[in-house]
C-alpha cells in the first residue's frame, strides 16, 4: 500500500506516511509518539518547515527538549499538512494499539483530517475496532480483506520455490498442495 502510493507520489510532491502498530511495542505507541511519528514522516526527505524548526528551538531554549504537547503537536502537523499538495496517512494494525491510546489517537487524527481536505487516511485492523473507527470517522469506507484464491496460489508458489528441503517433495505432493490449500482459503494466511 505504502509503496504503491509512494510510486504515485514520486511524480509529485505528495507525502505518504506509513505507521505500524505492534503488540510488542504497545507502551511506546502512545498518542504523542504516534502523532510525532506522523510529523517525523511528513518532514522526512524534505526541507524541515520553518514552524517546526521554531518549535524545536523553543523547546531547546525553554524546556531542555521536552517533546511537544498534544495541542502544539497537532498545530505543527496541521500546518505541515497544509503546506503540502496532498498527504496520505496509512496506519496498520490499529487493533494492536492499547485501547486508551487508540481512542485519543483516533480523535486527534480526526481533527487533522477534518481541517485538511487534501488528506487521505488508510487504516487497517481486525473487525473488533470497526465500531470505534465508525464513531470517529462516520464517513469511512469499510472494506473486508481476505486473500483471493490467486493470492494463496502466488504465495504458495513462492514458498515452495524457497523450500529448504526440496528432496522431501515429489510431484504428487506438490500437486496436492497446490490443489487442496487454495480450496481452503478461509483458513489460509498470507501475512
Amino acid at each position: 500500500m505504502i509503496d504503491h502510493l509512494c510510486d504515485q507520489a514520486s511524480k509529485s510532491d505528495i507525502a505518504v506516511v506509513g505507521l505500524y502498530c505492534d503488540f510488542l511495542a504497545q507502551h511506546e505507541q502512545t498518542t504523542l509518539n504516534m502523532l510525532g511519528a506522523i510529523l517525523k514522516e511528513l518532514i522526512n526527505r524534505r526541507e524541515i518547515p520553518k514552524h517546526v524548526k521554531q518549535a524545536f528551538k523553543k523547546a531547546k531554549r525553554e524546556s531542555s527538549y521536552l517533546r511537544p504537547r498534544l495541542p502544539d503537536l497537532l498545530e505543527l502537523i496541521k500546518a505541515t499538512v497544509a503546506s503540502l499538495p496532498q498527504v496520505f496517512i496509512c496506519i496498520d494494525a490499529l487493533d494492536e494499539m492499547l485501547p486508551k491510546h487508540r481512542s485519543d489517537f483516533l480523535r486527534s487524527l480526526q481533527g487533522i483530517v477534518r481541517g485538511s481536505p487534501n488528506t487521505r487516511v488508510f487504516l487497517t485492523g481486525r473487525a473488533m475496532v470497526l465500531q470505534e473507527i465508525k464513531e470517529h470517522f462516520p464517513g469511512a469506507v469499510m472494506v473486508p480483506i481476505s486473500p483471493t484464491k490467486e493470492d494463496v496460489e502466488t504465495f504458495l508458489v513462492m514458498k515452495l520455490e524457497g523450500d529448504t528441503e526440496p528432496n522431501a517433495m515429489d510431484d504428487d505432493l506438490h500437486t496436492d498442495i497446490m490443489r487442496v490449500i487454495p480450496e481452503n482459503i478461509s483458513e489460509m494466511r498470507v501475512g
Partner: protein, 93 residues
C-alpha cells in the same frame, strides 16, 4: 516526559554548539518521536510476495479513495480495511 533524548549530545556539554542546519535535520526527527516507522516498513517490504493483494488496488473503494478515478467528485477521505490476523492487510502493496 522529559526523555533523555539528546543524551549523546548533552554528555559532551556542547548544548549551544549544535544549532547548525545539519544538526537540526538529525535532531528534530528524534525530538518528535522515538518511533522509527521507516525501519518497520523496510521489513514489510522485504517479506512481501509480489502480486499478492494487488486485486485491492483495482477496487472502486481504493480508487475512489486514492483519487485515481475521479468519479462524481466525492472522495471519501478514510478507508478502513479489516480482517483477521494473517489475511494480508499489512502486505497490501
Amino acid at each position: 516526559m522529559a526523555y533523555n533524548l539528546f543524551r549523546d549530545i548533552e554528555i559532551t556539554g556542547h548544548i549551544d554548539s549544535f544549532n547548525s542546519p545539519k544538526d537540526e535535520k538529525r535532531l528534530i526527527p528524534k525530538w518528535l518521536s522515538p518511533l522509527e516507522p521507516h525501519q518497520r516498513h523496510h521489513g514489510v517490504r522485504t517479506n512481501r510476495v509480489d502480486g499478492v493483494g494487488n486485486w485491492f488496488l483495482e477496487t472502486n473503494e481504493f480508487r475512489n479513495w486514492s483519487g485515481a478515478s475521479g468519479g462524481d467528485g466525492y472522495v471519501p477521505p478514510v478507508l478502513f480495511c479489516y480482517g483477521d490476523p494473517g489475511v494480508g492487510k499489512t502486505y497490501l502493496r
